[in-house]
Amino acid sequence: MVERESAADIEADAARWVVRVDRDGGAVRSELDVWLAGDRRRVGAFARAEAAWTHMDRASVLPIEDAPAKVATPPPRRRGVIAGFGALAAGLVAAVVAPRLLARRYGTALGEIRRVPMDDGSVAAINTSSELEVSMQPRLRAVKLERGEAWFAVAKDPARPFVVESGPVRVRAVGTAFSVRKREGGSDVLVTEGVVEVWTQDSGAPPRRVAAGQSVFADNDAGVLTPPKAEADLTRQLAWRDGQIVLDGQTLAEAAAEFNRYNDHKIQIADARLADQRFVGWFRTNDPEGFAEAAAMTFNGKVSQSGDAIVLRGG
């Protein structure tokens, strides 16, 4: 009887073929075909190893099958994708010198994220399509958020409160870190360190204290109507500071809206069923195509281009 190749040998060879194809691509295809033709079990072992190899890509992407879990720990960061802010900030310093200027404007284009150091030692990270004006006065550090979103790490200075003006909404801090996003009817405030006071001018409602780990929505007319909400995933919500979008149980529709804040190529979800699917993943803000591909792969959908739009539909 002819010695039959053992399943263990086939398994080992299959794993090697998967790694070689990953490195050399089509160049090894004909050699691989010869090997595969030798035994049906090789075809099976190769598919199995390939499936595991591909499955590992889910280390950064995967679907959620149940309701979004409560987040106990912040998700690990996707490493090495985005260059640190150090370089970014260093590049900006040159453009932002001119000290002693009272008011200074900063703006970002669609998809742009800037981190800007201020004269008082505070730092602002400015999200996509945003505009703000900073005016350092002797008794007040005033920031006017004209549109968009920014996060501030405020240098401590009890004599000079730091006040962000977002329409009629005001956020006051002494030494703390928080973000403000200006929306249609009001502003979102997220606090990452310390405590801030949030109120709306002329609303009659008293300032509301919002502590680290909490968020609040301040209505442009009525002020803060609901008590501050504990946020377990502030890190996720502020991942844009690193040029990332972190999804943790958001629906595809919510995720698409998030990507569309940053890109000309807008994602459209052409399938209502798909829009409600939930997703976990780490992406770059400027990679809507990558997101659409991953979503399509995960939910058996299809991606197509239609003009400037990236259309995602069910398979």
């Binding site: 398994e11 080992a12 390939e50 099958e65 090495g80 058996n300």
Partner: protein
């Protein structure tokens, strides 16, 4: 990889691999006489990989069991002597399928943690290479350059990592790495008393 093939491979990883441990346990329990379980598993994957359309498969777990069962039956038919009970045990597949798989109700988060956990459990250099390739998306050649090692070493570590992960995913003992450690399958007697 063509788009269709990529879809089937992704489906295998997502819907089939997680059940392999259960299928293996069932194969071992029900009919060792059918031959080497590894052989049956490989042959089963061969059939699954040949699928061109997976959309119609509502219950991948059940489909996997059915496919493995049909492979096993074929091998038994080929073997000369078979215990009658063996066949009836295989026919009693429904029993193994009854419980609607608790592991399917695993949340996305837990699955993510599991996949990351598998990578994290690899030996140091192997883990680093896997992370660079699979999480950071660095090509193998670039990994070799960054780590200052040969491409061959990167290949070997990746193969080692992939095999360890496959073994862990399907709840087998880690492979020893040496070829030919496992007993050859043919020549084994299929006659059992």
């Amino acid at each position: 990889m063509s788009e269709g093939r990529a879809r089937v491979v992704a489906w295998l990883g997502r819907e089939i691999l997680p059940h392999e441990a259960a299928v293996r346990a069932w194969l071992r329990r029900s009919f060792a006489a059918a031959g080497d379980v590894d052989d049956i598993i490989q042959e089963t994957y061969c059939r699954l990989a040949a699928l061109t359309n997976i959309e119609h498969i509502d219950q991948p777990r059940g489909y996997f069991f059915q496919a493995a069962r049909s492979v096993a039956l074929e091998q038994i038919r080929r073997a000369r002597v078979v215990r009658i009970e063996t066949v009836s045990e295989i026919e009693a597949l429904d029993l193994a399928l009854e419980e609607p798989s608790a592991e399917r109700i695993v949340s996305g988060r837990r699955e993510l943690e599991r996949v990351r956990g598998l990578i994290a459990a690899l030996p140091e250099r192997c883990r680093r290479i896997f992370e660079m390739r699979k999480i950071e998306g660095v090509p193998q050649r670039e990994i070799a350059r960054r780590l200052g090692v040969s491409e061959h070493i990167v290949e070997n570590e990746a193969v080692r990592g992939l095999r360890a992960i496959l073994a862990a995913m399907t709840e087998q003992d880690a492979p020893t790495g040496a070829k030919g450690v496992k007993e050859k399958t043919d020549g084994r007697t299929r006659k059992r008393r």
